[in-house]
């Protein structure tokens, strides 16, 4: 039925259509012709896979850098470890460079300079995004670890526990609860930033939307459609974050 209306309307001259008929034609063309809506879903799937890959890389890098930076800053005076000093300097360069340059520039350098010959730009994008996210996650984790009361690690150390045990059993579990809101925020930002991967030709939601634009010459519907999908996922992630925080807070009150 819809198809019949579409064919009838496209047979008419565009200037004879009323506004809602134009809208319908555009909508039909952007989403329904040749099952194009499946392309958006494929794009969304790619976007979600990219988010998870970048997320894992970001957490691993962030945890590593965050713990090294904190360990360095909390050393006892007079007992500075030179290896830790070197690692700390490397970590500082990493966070400074990543946080000090625009993300699009980082994508372009990764995609067009470092991995210029790579054909799988999607994975290059995931790598760049993970490296970027790691720098921000590192600072969030560092803040969380420094924010745990010093008395907690003093109590642990006074019992003869070594630094690693104090971190593992006492400081990190407490820091985790405190940084959850900031971490959740970072992950929602990360999800949206996957769209920037399209600048190096990586395949994600926006890439497929743009592919449809080149077929229909109409940017409105594909862009609005992708915006809607991003919004739906973000609302879901925010809801999930709130639920998790409420659950962790409950254990405080028991």
């Amino acid at each position: 039925m819809m198809e019949a209306i579409y064919l009838e309307l496209t047979a008419m001259a565009p200037k004879d259509l009323v506004w809602y008929q134009t809208f319908f034609v555009k909508f039909y063309r952007a989403f329904l012709v040749a099952d194009r809506w499946k392309l958006y879903l494929r794009g969304l799937e790619q976007t979600l896979i990219l988010t998870v890959l970048a997320l894992v890389l970001g957490i691993v890098l962030g945890l590593l850098v965050g713990v090294i930076r904190t360990a360095h800053d909390q050393q006892r005076p007079g007992r500075r470890n030179p290896i830790l000093g070197l690692l700390n300097a490397l970590c500082k360069i990493y966070t400074t460079v990543i946080r000090g340059t625009p993300m699009v520039v980082q994508f372009l350098i990764m995609g067009m300079v470092i991995f210029a010959s790579s054909r799988n730009k999607t994975m290059v994008g995931a790598l760049a995004l993970g490296i970027n996210s790691g720098a921000y996650v590192a600072e969030i984790i560092r803040g969380g670890l420094m924010g745990v009361d010093v008395g907690q690690s003093e109590a642990g150390r006074s019992l003869g526990l070594n630094y690693m045990d104090v971190m593992r059993f006492i400081v990190i579990p407490q820091a985790f609860k405190n940084i959850l809101p900031a971490l959740g925020n970072e992950f929602i930002i990360l999800f949206k930033d996957t769209s920037l991967i399209s600048v190096i030709g990586g395949k994600e939601l926006l890439y497929f939307a743009q592919a449809i634009i080149t077929l229909t010459y109409d940017p409105m519907m594909p862009y609005l459609g992708s915006a809607f999908l991003y919004l739906v996922i973000c609302i879901f992630l925010t809801w999930l974050q709130g639920k998790l925080e409420r659950r962790l807070r409950q254990s405080d009150r028991r």
């Binding site: 006892r76 005076p77 007079g78 007992r79 009361d149 008395g151 907690q152 003093e154 109590a155 642990g156 150390r157 006074s158 019992l159 003869g160 526990l161 070594n162 045990d165 059993f169 006492i170 579990p173 407490q174 609860k177 254990s251 405080d252 009150r253 028991r254």
Partner: protein
């Protein structure tokens, strides 16, 4: 048991401890008193190297623990410490708080440690709190658990850093009772406190600190009856 020689500690330009010499023998109950800012807590925290001394040496059971090559974790296992603000781990049950260190140090198996925790909690009158979290306990209960946590390592010496200063007045007694019992059993104790009654009753020696020095020391009866220094007299006239 502990020998302190020429101990100095400064934070930046501020000299907090100025050449402290002190010997603590096994079984002694040393009570450190003095005005705030006199260096009492810093002195105590230097004994287990929670503060790194700027100069001087500390010898514990014949071992120079201020030597950077010493494994300080092994030394700290033999010195329990109780803090003003309890510093229980809020993310663990009381049982886990007590058993974590002895199990990680491989002093006991998990089962042995839990049994020991149960015994110790019974002794301080908290047998039913093993599965509770610190947030569910009153201040006095938290501090009794903190003492148990330190005792679970079977230390040779216990350090108390103003253990009753953060408590409601009605809860001070229950914590002091536990400490008195510990003293009766012969534990070597170094206690920084403002509880003059406790100092008089339990202390075997009182140290009065002011301005980074140990100004005066004596056994409690003589100390409270006939303070020698003017500064001591002034302090005692205000707190007694």
């Amino acid at each position: 048991m502990i020998d302190v020689k020429g101990l100095c500690k400064s934070f930046g330009d501020h000299l907090v401890l100025d050449h402290i010499d002190q010997h603590i023998a096994p079984g002694e109950k040393v009570v450190v008193i003095g005005p705030s800012g006199s260096g009492k807590s810093t002195f105590l925290r230097c004994l287990n190297l929670l503060e790194t001394p700027t100069a001087g040496t500390i010898t514990f059971e014949g071992q120079v623990i201020t030597d950077p090559k010493v494994n300080i974790n092994l030394v700290r296992r033999q010195m329990g410490m109780v803090f003003q603000h309890f510093n229980l781990f809020p993310n663990m049950t009381i049982r886990k708080n007590i058993t974590l260190a002895p199990v990680r140090a491989k002093l006991m198996s998990k089962e042995e440690a839990e049994e020991e925790a149960g015994r110790l909690l019974e002794r301080v009158g908290l047998p039913d709190k093993a599965d509770a979290y610190p947030a569910q306990l009153s201040g006095g209960q938290k501090q009794r658990v903190a003492i148990v946590r330190a005792m679970a390592m079977k230390p040779k010496l216990m350090l108390f850093d103003e253990p009753t200063s953060a408590l409601d007045p009605e809860m001070v007694g229950e914590v002091l009772d536990v400490m008195k019992e510990l003293a009766r059993e012969g534990m070597t104790m170094v206690v920084v406190t403002h509880e003059m009654g406790f100092a008089r009753e339990v202390g075997s020696r009182i140290l009065f600190m002011d301005g980074g020095h140990i100004l005066e020391e004596n056994e409690p009866h003589a100390f409270f009856a006939n303070p020698r220094e003017e500064r001591t007299k002034l302090f005692l006239s205000k707190v007694l």
